[in-house]
């Protein structure tokens, strides 16, 4: 058993360090996204990372995996819309930190429900430095279409939105932020965001 665990750990480490080399430039968005999602599946199905004691370790592993492929700053910018223009560079950084926390909790929260779902790659579109990779997630006999919207950033395709059955993660937050900004100023919004994030730490 110990042997197996060491083996899986070795594989995990191997993939962790191998990863950057795999992403050769000029690769298709699907080819770049695939190893990231595969590694996520590996982490999620890794028995040695299960249980409460390993929760933090598992989260850190997931986070380091997705931050290679997910552009949280781009997401923060799109979520804030025109308000992004009105705030200073420091405020943008601070906002990105908070927004990353929220998106991380949201995405990892979804991933933690993982129970052997399979990912099927069904299509790819590339247009003017943007790409859409379409997948089908099969879960308990049902198939759900999940699309990853990506931006080209220094030869690397980076995800900035996830669209599930027409529902866009970023557009959804954008609508919420817009509604809140109608009642409150930017500081008020930031406070709501921080409160939301601290609610995850308590639970």
């Amino acid at each position: 058993m110990l042997c197996l665990r060491t083996f899986t750990a070795a594989i995990a480490v191997f993939f962790l360090f191998q990863a950057p080399a795999v992403f050769a430039d000029a690769e298709s968005p699907t080819a770049q996204l695939k190893p990231t999602l595969q590694r996520l599946v590996d982490i999620l199905s890794d028995r040695s990372l299960e249980g409460k004691d390993n929760k933090k370790k598992r989260r850190d592993l997931i986070m380091s995996t997705i931050s290679e492929r997910f552009d949280f700053r781009e997401m923060s910018k799109r979520v804030l819309g025109s308000t992004w223009r009105d705030i200073s560079e420091e405020e943008r950084d601070a906002f990105t930190v908070q927004m990353t926390k929220l998106l991380e909790n949201n995405y990892i929260g979804q991933l933690e429900n993982y129970s052997g779902e399979t990912v099927e790659y069904v299509g790819e579109r590339v247009r003017e430095g943007r790409a859409q990779v379409s997948t089908l997630i099969e879960s308990q006999g049902n198939k759900y279409p999940v699309h990853y919207i990506m931006n080209m950033d220094d030869d690397k395709w980076m995800v900035y939105d996830i669209n599930i059955e027409g529902v866009s993660l970023i557009r959804n937050y954008r609508a919420e932020f817009k509604s809140i900004l109608r009642r409150e100023n930017y500081e008020g919004l930031l406070q709501v965001l921080e409160e939301k994030n601290s609610s995850f730490e308590q639970s």
């Binding site: 819309g81 025109s82 790409a131 919207i149 866009s168 937050y173 954008r174 609508a175």
Partner: protein, 265 residues
């Protein structure tokens, strides 16, 4: 008075069976919508390199009332539906619940048949018809989805709300129905159409039987689908806005799927 309440419950629960038709096997078609073509430019954002999503305003003049009803549904979910769902799932194993789900889904086949035909999707209508025949016979009253397992015939969803959208009818203002949740004028009209197309409506059942039927349908469906509402609530800063936006985007996608397919013919 009792009769009226029962009738109301009947309508509301009946409508949820249409939701069930929506949710199960929603991704049967392997077409990929072009999300890159969506309007990414923001009017109040001048730099065109920094394309951003446009948030189209959702027409919601009843927002104050809708928010109250949203709260009502929230309490209903956490105080009634969720505990019942947990008990129900505890008593019945997943396989049994899946069979029930297939049964309810099979009974709503006429809704999908009529709407596929109305949208000119004749091939899909044929698949719906074949699925219904196979599952009602070999699948024992629709309890097993033999058509999918043995013949690889995937569900072809279609509903009246989608058909109305297909013919260019506008969504109308946003509504939150008690028990039912997010909707709009077009979607609500569609639910009435779905109810009229459902054979269950024409069964000679007492009102108590009807309420039981639709309640079990609802709870069963809830026990099989992922806890979407709880997720929305947990991760949003304003769950009302998040639910509204998700509903619109989801339904728009359903209609888009119908109109995109038309061009394939």
């Amino acid at each position: 008075m009792k009769k009226i309440i029962l009738l109301f419950m009947l309508i509301v629960f009946a409508a949820t069976s249409a939701f069930a038709a929506d949710d199960t096997g929603g991704a049967s078609q392997n077409d990929t919508p072009n999300l890159l073509e969506e309007n990414y430019l923001d009017d109040d954002y001048e730099d065109t390199r920094e394309e951003l999503y446009t948030i189209e305003e959702i027409y919601d003049p009843l927002e104050p009332v809708n928010r109250v009803l949203f709260q009502f549904n929230d309490k209903l979910y956490f105080w009634v539906l969720k505990p019942v769902k947990i008990g129900y799932s505890y008593v019945l194993p997943a396989e049994v619940r899946e069979s029930f789900g297939n049964f309810f889904n099979n009974l709503s086949a006429p809704i999908r048949l009529i709407n596929n035909l109305l949208q000119g999707r004749f091939q899909d209508a044929g698949v719906v018809f074949s699925r219904f025949l196979i599952n009602s016979t070999v699948g024992v009253y629709g309890l097993a989805d033999v058509a999918l397992q043995e013949y690889n015939l995937e569900p072809r969803i279609a509903d009246f709300g989608q058909t109305l959208g297909f013919y260019g009818i506008g969504e109308g203002l946003y509504l939150v129905w008690p028990l039912l949740g997010p909707s709009n004028i077009r979607h609500s009209a569609g639910l009435v159409g779905d109810l009229l197309a459902s054979p269950v409506t024409y069964l000679d059942m007492t009102s108590n039987q009807s309420v039981l039927y639709y309640s079990v349908n609802r709870i069963n469906n809830l026990s099989l689908s992922p806890g979407v509402y709880e997720e929305i609530k947990k991760f949003s800063l304003d769950p009302y806005v998040a639910a509204r936006q998700s509903f619109f985007d989801f339904r728009r996608n359903v209609v888009k799927r119908a109109t995109n397919e038309e061009t394939d013919f």
